[in-house]
Symmetry: C2
Subunit: 188 residues, 2 copies
């Protein structure tokens, strides 16, 4: 992630519960210096989890939000944790499913002012291995939806999927993209 | 923006150059309390500025970025400033253009953890009234592109357009959406 990397002279000026604030003196085009600022936060992963030809979708409530939202299973990668390990952990904790067939689908840094990578993984042939282990701040229901319903999430304002929304939208309109996405997700 | 509003008991724990960090004690589903955190920053506006049937696009460099990016004219709304007033000011400062025919196109809060609204305005029949007034941290070149090139920005990774990317993508694939967008932007 060189593109978004903080300059070597950046200093952390505040560390919150989620976000760190970093600042550095930036030389401007006219030679003057201005304090520039960027944030850092833990990366996250979302998982396209395949179960019997369907994809797991979650309806989630959070204690500080009035309306539920839709998302793929996933969550925060802990500091120092390998993203794939974090994705497997989050899938298991939130849904109870596990897989031996994982593939990285994409990695994006969506915010120019935040050091943060959003990983999307595919987990094929998932099987249910244990009850979900939700923490006190999570209310999550998991369902399995078919591929066309998955693509329709690109139209659903309640779906939090980041850059995936554009991928789904494109697949709905471009038959070749749709076929390619299907093959990538389901392996056939 | 009720959806993203901070709880009334939230307190600002840090104020940086761009971001404020707010925290509050959040009661969880099991009755325990956890410190929750959200950010605030000034809103921003981008402008679909129409000049002789074309749309202004900027190539921009910033002193802390290695590669230029593409964007519509726009920038940060100052605290207490009306968004439309800020949009007019930014268009004039960055491009030298002004208009008497403005319309709000959309307002989005793209980040669930950041109190921030991104406004998109349409400014029709723009005319060049003065040289741009760039600050020491801006290198901006402005060009005018046609409607189809505008839609193609949805494919350009260098384009920072936020939610507008999805709007452009949809218009490329849906003839009815394309016609509607054209009518909205050009007024005919």
């Amino acid at each position: 992630m060189t593109k978004g990397a903080l300059p070597s002279n950046a200093k952390m000026v505040f560390k919150g519960e989620i976000f760190e604030v970093w600042q550095w003196p930036q030389t401007m085009y006219d030679g003057t210096t201005v304090t520039f600022e960027r944030l850092r936060r833990d990366d996250s992963a979302q998982v396209i989890a395949v179960v019997d030809g369907k994809i797991l979708l979650q309806t989630q409530e959070q204690p500080d939000r009035t309306s539920p939202f839709l998302s793929l299973p996933g969550g925060r990668i802990e500091e120092g944790e390998d993203p794939l390990v974090g994705a497997k952990r989050e899938l298991l904790e939130e849904s109870g499913y596990a897989s031996d067939d994982w593939e990285l689908f994409s990695a994006h840094s969506p915010y120019s002012k935040i050091e943060y990578v959003s990983y999307t993984y595919i987990a094929r042939q998932c099987s249910y291995v244990q009850a979900p282990m939700l923490d006190a701040g999570e209310k999550i229901e998991t369902q399995a939806i078919d591929f066309d319903s998955f693509l329709s999430l690109s139209d659903n304002p309640a779906f939090r999927g980041g850059e995936l929304r554009g991928v789904l939208l494109r697949a709905r309109y471009e038959p070749a993209e749709k076929e390619k996405l299907h093959r990538t997700i389901f392996g056939s």
